[in-house]
Symmetry: C2
Subunit: 241 residues, 2 copies
DNA sequence: TAGTGGTCTAGACCACTAC
DNA sequence: TAGTGGTCTAGACCACTAT
């Protein structure tokens, strides 16, 4: 067992104080906690220590520091529950729960498949795939980013339907007359990469749920391989058996 | 967009160097990376910066610092894939994949149910529950901690069977003649609390997968409510639909 | 211009490990 | 005793926001 000096770990005490103050409503949602300097004076602590404390409660999701302004208390919303089954999709999930949402096609490309795509989609190394990167929002705040791969042969000229992009599944159903069925999903808890943390507007220490999914033609062959990364503090996933 | 000084974020450069060196095999698994002081000299950087870099690669799972000794490179094992379905249990999962595992009953108690337990197990506030805390190991390393609640009426005198605890399900089947069936699971990515990080022997910034599950009597009423917390860097969960 | 958070330097003392 | 990582102090300059 590692000993700890009695007066040490002061940053944990400060973090605890801040969390309790937020819980008690002393620091209110969307308002600011005291500045670093103020906290230094209050606790007779070094700025470094105060910053450690703030880093901790930031990672725990309580506040978001903004350069030049201050450190804002987050609205602690219950995470959105996302139901995964063979049929549910993001859009239906949100609509069914009456949650206002939107999405944005960040990027698309047509290219040769990587190994994961070849294996999961059961295609050869020379069959082209469409690759879409989609960012989803709830209350104008980004909550997930998804990379989806579909073989070109399944959706020729897919890019013709990208104007006013609303939902990939709407395009598949309206223009290609099929609706993929979720076959399997693999869940992991990971830390975001630099790109993810920028897109999702979270610090690099907020955990994210990564869901790697494969969807098939109804009763048939694999057609859509996707990797989604959801903010851990705003999402949870329900699976019923 | 926030600007960054060109010479700034030096700690990210150092972190990148360290990761690349580990990847390239320059720093080998189970050996130590150079000491903080050595890195300070090498990069002409302040110790604080070097420590930031080390904190980063620690959180990303590459190394584990040990006081007084050094900073050891972790064996990057592919995460263990854990298959969740209505029937699979930890023990069967591991056995099927030929993974050597063990577990330990950390604590047990009999007490009144909390709100979650009342709701999920569909019991009144005065029906006692057994509450078990189980730590699971793979290769002698802790990988998950689970809290399981079962109404006392389902398993009277449960504690009589705790000697040489091997598997809760073995006890249920051998002595109470039923085998719970998984009904639903809720996945979240969270950061560990202090207690979790101690039990799982991970720093507080390594994400964990939290799985809240409910299991029923075959075709019947709820009988087991559990919350598991798995090391994110060592586990992934597969669900097939 | 003043105040905020972001980054970095320099140096101190402590606890733990190895010798 | 020397070397390691853990914690903390004191102070600097920067970028951003508000006034």
């Amino acid at each position: 067992m590692i000993k700890v000096r009695e007066d040490a770990l002061q940053h944990l005490e400060i973090a605890e104080y801040l969390i309790n103050s937020i819980r008690d409503g002393e620091f209110k949602v969307d308002e600011k906690i005291p500045s670093e300097n103020t906290l230094c004076r209050k606790f007779q602590a070094n700025r470094h220590i105060v910053r450690q404390a703030i880093a901790r409660i930031t990672n725990l999701g309580w506040v978001t520091p903004v350069q030049g302004k201050g450190c804002y208390v987050n609205r602690i919303s219950q995470p959105i529950q996302y139901e995964l089954s063979s049929k549910t999709r993001f859009t239906e999930n949100m609509d069914r729960n009456g949650i206002k949402h939107s999405c944005k096609l960040l990027h698309w490309e047509k290219g040769l498949p990587n190994e994961d795509e070849q294996e999961n989609l059961e295609i050869s190394h020379e069959e082209m795939v469409y690759r879409l990167e989609i960012l989803r929002f709830i209350d104008e705040k980004p909550i997930s980013v998804t990379t989806t791969s579909i073989p070109e042969k399944e959706v020729p000229d897919l890019e013709k339907h990208f104007k006013a992009f609303q939902s990939l599944y709407a395009i598949l159903i309206d223009h290609y007359y099929f609706r993929p069925v979720r076959n399997k999903s693999i869940f992991q808890a990971v830390l975001p990469g630099l790109k993810d943390s920028e897109l999702l507007e979270i610090p690099e220490s907020v955990p994210i749920i990564q869901i790697e999914s494969l969807a098939n033609h109804p009763g048939g062959s694999p057609v859509e391989y996707s990797v989604s990364r959801l903010r851990g503090d705003m999402n949870k996933c329900l699976v019923e058996f």
